[in-house]
């Protein structure tokens, strides 16, 4: 599996006490004197090793390394973190994933507060996923509570985790596009306006949105002075614990009210026969057995059936679909069945994939710039891109061939009921290029076709193709 390029992690520059960098595939964090002192105290706690061993906090140990990157202050210690197989961002998660991430973040803060630590922030990006399990990765965020006072990550937690969850739970609006547009999340005032006055009756809104917004607008003392005043008034660590516990209760109470997705029952309404499914499974199995690919992308994963199949042979599978409800169903299935933790389900619209975001467009990488997959599975996807999204067939084949060294692609022929359903929405003649012979010609021009098979139902074809430029290099 390809590793991140050596050098400083582009999103790790705001914390003056430490910085994450990569060296020969290792994920390292160098710390200045303050960061090193905080780590020393942190590593003596009980909660940190406990949460590392049960996987809730990224495994971290002190190490040494050469070629340390420049910090604002002199680096005095180096930590090594366990590598997260595929980096994802909150705007690619489902409701269930963001909720699980929010719960974990609050649990981590509560555990830290019990032992005199807190986190400097409450950012959704502090969490990553290992399969369907969230993991807290920002070790540099821990610091001693000092004089106590409320949790300083509260605002960021509300903006990047609580409010997006409320948007979906209380308004039925998917949060992904909003979070993708605003890396700092939803502002308190925007959230209050979105929810409207009636929503004040919903759990957590009056306290965490309305009052929060009123105070944000009213109070203009500097935040350090506010912390001192609150400490003088007696707002100690107990207050932080109480507010985090209450936040946890609110987050746990939230659920998505969205209607069943049109894809949620895809397996029962699609045009496969049992023979088709069996033949398709065998074809995919033979390619997986031959390649044992380290990293697989399953594009248009639907219920994740074939992602799960790939996970038996791959180190890591990234399973994406454009429908958040379908992906959420897959995520919940994985949680309930305790599936192997090497499949990460993500929301991704392939016609508008996650772009590069943040400072200088480098903080958050574009989806297809993070890792190069060793195998791409595009099963029953081409007709959606070509007919559904009006992308010329040649463009679709170019796109798929550009992604990987090996490709399993399924072509749903024009007479298949599912293709017919899409074609019936379009004016006649719009998709005359959607033909099996043209698809094969385009694929052959770009790839060496290693194997192909028509499924017994007679309306779908599978191909194992090696993109030509790569195949020629070998």
């Amino acid at each position: 599996m390809p590793s991140n390029r050596d050098g400083v992690e582009p999103s790790s520059f705001r914390d003056p006490s430490g910085s994450v960098f990569y060296s020969e595939g290792r994920v390292l964090r160098c710390l200045d004197a303050k960061g090193a002192a905080d780590w020393k105290a942190l590593s003596a706690t009980r909660f940190l090793p406990r949460m590392m061993s049960d996987g809730r906090v990224v495994h971290t140990s002190e190490t040494s390394a050469n070629d340390l990157p420049d910090l604002r202050n002199e680096p005095v210690a180096v930590l090594e973190h366990e590598r997260i197989p595929f980096i994802s961002y909150p705007y690619e998660w489902t409701f269930g994933m963001l909720r699980a991430a929010a719960i974990l973040h609050l649990e981590v803060v509560l555990a830290a507060l019990e032992e005199g630590f807190t986190t400097k922030d409450g950012y959704a990006f502090n969490i990553q996923f290992r399969g369907s399990a969230p993991v807290f990765i920002d070790i540099g965020s821990f610091e001693p509570v000092g004089a106590g006072g409320p949790w300083v990550g509260y605002r960021q937690f509300c903006q990047t985790m609580l409010y997006p969850l409320m948007v979906e739970a209380y308004l039925g609006i998917p949060f992904q596009r909003i979070l993708r547009g605003h890396l700092e999340g939803i502002d308190t005032n925007e959230m209050r306006r979105m929810l409207g006055p009636l929503a004040s009756l919903r759990k957590g809104v009056l306290k965490h949105v309305v009052i929060h917004d009123m105070l944000t607008a009213k109070v203009d003392t500097a935040s350090q002075a506010t912390r001192s005043s609150l400490a003088t008034e007696g707002a100690g660590t107990e207050i932080a614990k109480a507010s985090v516990s209450k936040l946890l209760a609110v987050v746990r109470s939230l659920s998505s009210p969205r209607a069943e997705s049109v894809w949620a029952d895809y397996r029962t309404t699609c045009s496969y026969t049992d023979e088709d499914t069996e033949a398709k499974t065998l074809f995919i199995e033979s390619v997986l057995e031959e390649l044992t690919p380290p990293l697989v992308f399953d594009l248009g994963c639907n219920d994740g059936r074939f992602s799960q199949q790939a996970s038996v042979h791959a180190q890591q599978v990234v399973a994406v679909d454009f429908d958040p409800l379908v992906v959420d169903n897959f995520f919940r299935d994985m949680r309930e069945t305790r599936s192997p933790q090497n499949v990460i389900p993500l929301v991704q619209d392939l016609t508008d994939p996650s772009p590069a975001r943040g400072w200088r467009g480098r903080e958050r990488k574009a989806f297809f710039d993070r890792e190069r997959p060793d195998l791409v599975m595009a099963l029953a996807l081409v007709h959606h891109l070509s007919i559904g999204a009006n992308i010329p067939l040649a463009e679709v084949v170019d796109f798929l061939a550009s992604l990987t060294d090996d490709l399993i692609v399924e072509f749903v022929e024009p007479h298949d009921p599912m293709a017919q359903r899409l074609l019936s929405n379009k004016p006649e003649g719009t998709h005359d290029d959607y033909r099996t012979d043209l698809f094969e010609k385009l694929l052959e021009e770009r790839c060496e076709i290693k194997a192909s098979q028509r499924l017994p139902g007679g309306s779908r074809r599978l191909y194992h193709a090696k993109p030509r430029s790569r195949a020629d290099d070998q």
Binding site: G149, P150, W151, V152, Y154, R155, C158, T188, K203, G204, L206, K207, H208, V210, I211, H212, M214, L215, T216, A217, K218, V219, D220, T221, A222, S223, A225, T226, R227, S229, L230, T232, E233, G234, A235, E238, I239, A240, K241, A242, S243, K246, L247
Partner: protein, 75 residues
């Protein structure tokens, strides 16, 4: 850039986090903070004429009541 850009919105959030923790009496701290705010407005009035801060006071009372309510109830 607006003068508002120099304000630190985190202050309101710190108090909100304290309210969310159910701390009784936090209203006292809050009150003193926005009293400072209205006092500064009075000082900065260039005409020297008394400032009618009736609207602000009413708003303060409503925020104060809401804060007290939110701090005391599990809502």
């Amino acid at each position: 850039m607006s003068v508002l850009a120099y304000l630190d919105p985190a202050s309101g959030s710190l108090i909100a986090a304290t309210v969310a923790g159910g701390m009784a009496g936090v209203g006292v701290a809050v009150k003193s903070m926005w009293r400072n705010r209205t006092a500064r407005f009075r000082k900065s009035d260039p005409s020297g004429a008394p400032v009618n801060d009736q609207d602000t006071s009413e708003a303060d009372v409503s925020v104060d009541s809401a804060v007290e309510y939110a701090a005391q109830d599990d809502i």
